[in-house]
Amino acid sequence: MSTQHYPNDWFAPAPVHAALDLPVLPPESYWQGVWRRLKANRRAFGAAVFLIFVLLFTVFGSVLWPVDPAKQDPGVLSRSFVAARSLPVAMPDHWQAPRLDWAANVPVSGLAAPANLHAVSATSDAVRLVWQPVAGAQHYRIYRREGGGAGRGIPLAVIPASYLGYEDRLDVHAQDYHYTVIADDGLDEAREGAHLMVRPIAVISLLDAQLQGLVPLHVPADIDTLHVDLPMHPLGTDHLGRDMLARLIAGGQTSFFIGFGAPLLYIFIGCLYGAFSSYVGGRVDESMMRFADFVIALPFLLFMILLRVAFGIGAGESGVMALIVAMVLLGWPMSARLVRGQVLQLREQPFVAAARLMGAPSYYLVWRHMIPNVMGVVIVSLTFAIPGAIFTEAFLSFIGMGVVPPIPSWGSLCNDGIQSMLTHPHELLYPAALISMTVLAFNVLGDGLRDALDVNLDVRS
């Protein structure tokens, strides 16, 4: 057949190959493997790093940024950023608008615009306008508009024609204002008014300064110029002039306290319940699980609200404890069912049967086989329960059934922020972003942990 010529040793026996077995990997424990797989999952690891940062931010934030979250800075309401300022204190003085001694009560057809409208002083305490009289005027109407746009803006006042000046103290800030002063003849407005653009300088009134303890209560009357230093607000202020950064830190403390406290408690209780139920077995197990099923069937948020109402809020309470108790009352059955299911599944596993056959005592089986295997599932359920609790807190605070107002939480901050979201979006944006990113990170971490705990997904090569 074959007439080929082969090398001499072509059909010589070859040495038997030894390298047939698969390479042996270094041994590692279950949790070492979990940690290695988790580290390899870059998304989950990033989420974990982010969460550590957020936790550090809330726990140590109040040390690094020791600003009282309840303290108001009335000069700067709903600002997105406030730099540190040194403000002159506006001393109280009683300004009298110039008056006209007599007014010719003659009807004039076609009222003119007030001439020479100008501001005699313009501070964030008060803007004082004066103008020249208009013949035939019965009243002057004063309007103010903020910033750009068109029109006259909000009506500030209608004053009798005997006054030739007006003091505007309505929520004045150091920003551009467009004033319009227009005469009327008792019935109709004049066609033309006088316009003036004013940019008041920032000051703080003596009363505010005293209320905030920036100046002593008894200021010598002869001091003309007094300056006070006001703190900066890097993330701005809310509608009451409270520092947003301090409130976010304090709110985070509340949210995390609830977010960690409630799930830890109810998962612990649920584990005990589930373990006990599966340990006893029989009818007791059945009725215990039926009860758990009933509690699960209760609509969760509806009953959170109900329980929250039932516990009420006593004087000086924050409502945090009521929230946690309500969450524990409604949250435990899920983990009880989870643990029971896991235990029942594990009992059927061949490795448990094998260990039992070899005479392993119960405590050994529980310690060596049950706890490590149930542990993983419990930890994963915990990482999903925490964002759930933060969400629940936010939801309840949003509808006003959560943490009571002076105490901030991220949810109640959102609730506050949503009122003014059209004009001052930062008040909603920061807490909403913190909630969202934290919950996102927990979800990603939970996904990663679930994969990391699954030995079967391991590809080690």
């Binding site: 057949m1 074959s2 080929q4 082969y6 090398p7 040793d9 072509w10 059909f11 010589a12 026996p13 070859a14 038997v16 190959h17 390298a19 047939l20 077995d21 698969l22 590809v459 090569s461």
Partner: protein, 335 residues
């Protein structure tokens, strides 16, 4: 000379995985004649299922056909689109699978599932197809067929389900039935029933069967010809008598002696040392050489050619080379 129903020529299939390519099938050629039963045997992972999945066009997305040609009744199957394949899949060529419970749709009545190919390929109405499905179920030996047809797969036992699978596959009277380990998931007694059912149906209809299995006992009782696969290639190909009585490849011989019962009274179960090669790597020489007790220098250097011992019997082994001294002893049963 009759033409083969199916002929596969030099087929190579690879899977893209994270670490590169797994060369699952490396140059397989085989013919299936009308009415015959060809068995393909080999360890799991040797590429026997992949070969037939390629024929059926059932490869997963990450698989790639590198080369080869598949002809089924003169149609070039590899060049066909799915729509073109659907003209013969389930009608002229059908397939049954290893685990009938997972191979059946759990949310569809058995009868409807059997009726489906009839409706699609034969254009029967729902009522006609369902009536035919009941007949088919009866034909494969399911009692109370009319009632059974209205049940869901979870009400069936494994053997019953495999009968239903067979009924479904045979609904359109195919020329070729591909059976991918049809009895592996079944109890031994049920295995025999299912196999004899297949045999009987083959006698009645004259269809060809390609039987994928790793059970040599099944091969002996069912097949006319055998192809032995190892690491993605056919190492020995011949009639059942030839391959079983005069195995010409050391792997076949090892397989045969690994059959329990062949060495009655042996103190230990014989096995083949080592593992199949890593198909991600290029294989130098013969893929079986590292595990082969007869390995020679040649085996490690160059892949052996396919050498025909007789008209129907061929083997890919250097021992069969005319110039090989050791081969003669091997054939004589020594070594």
């Amino acid at each position: 000379m009759t033409r083969p129903v199916l002929s596969v020529c030099d087929l190579a299939v690879s899977f893209r995985v994270r670490q590169g390519m797994v060369n699952a099938v490396r140059g397989v050629s085989l013919d299936v004649m009308p009415g015959e039963t060809l068995a393909i045997v080999g360890e799991s992972g040797c590429g026997k299922s992949v070969t037939l999945r390629t024929v059926m066009g059932l490869l997963p997305e990450h698989a790639e056909v590198l080369s080869g040609d598949i002809r089924f009744e003169e149609e070039c199957v590899l060049q066909q689109t799915d729509a073109e394949r659907n003209r013969w899949r389930g009608s002229r060529m059908s397939m049954i699978f290893q685990d009938p419970l997972s191979a059946m749709n759990p949310t569809m009545r058995i009868g409807d599932q059997i009726a489906e190919p009839l409706r699609v390929h034969r254009g029967l109405s729902k009522a006609q197809a369902n009536a035919k499905a009941v007949d088919l179920l009866e034909h494969v030996g399911v009692r109370d067929a009319a009632l059974r047809a209205r049940q869901y797969p979870n009400a069936f036992s494994g053997g019953m389900l495999q009968r239903a699978m067979i009924a479904m596959a045979l609904a359109c009277e195919p020329k070729l039935l591909v059976a991918d380990e049809p009895t592996t998931a079944l109890d031994v007694t049920v295995q025999v029933q299912v196999l004899s059912l297949m045999k009987q149906l083959q006698r009645d209809s004259g269809m060809a069967i390609v039987l994928i299995t790793h059970d040599l006992g099944i091969v002996a009782s069912m097949a006319d010809r055998v192809a032995v696969m190892y690491a993605g290639a056919i190492v020995e190909y011949g009639s059942v008598e030839q391959v079983f009585q005069r195995p010409s490849h050391p792997y076949t011989r090892a397989l045969r002696s690994a059959l329990p019962g062949m060495h009655a009274g042996a103190s230990h179960l014989p096995s083949i040392a080592g593992q199949p090669p890593d198909l991600r790597r290029d294989i130098q020489g013969c893929a079986f050489a590292p595990r082969c007790g007869f390995a020679m220098q040649a085996c490690h250097r160059q892949a052996p050619p396919v050498i025909a011992m007789s008209e129907q019997h061929s083997s890919a082994c250097w021992l069969q080379d005319a110039a090989c001294e050791a081969g003669r002893q091997f054939r004589d049963g020594g070594l």
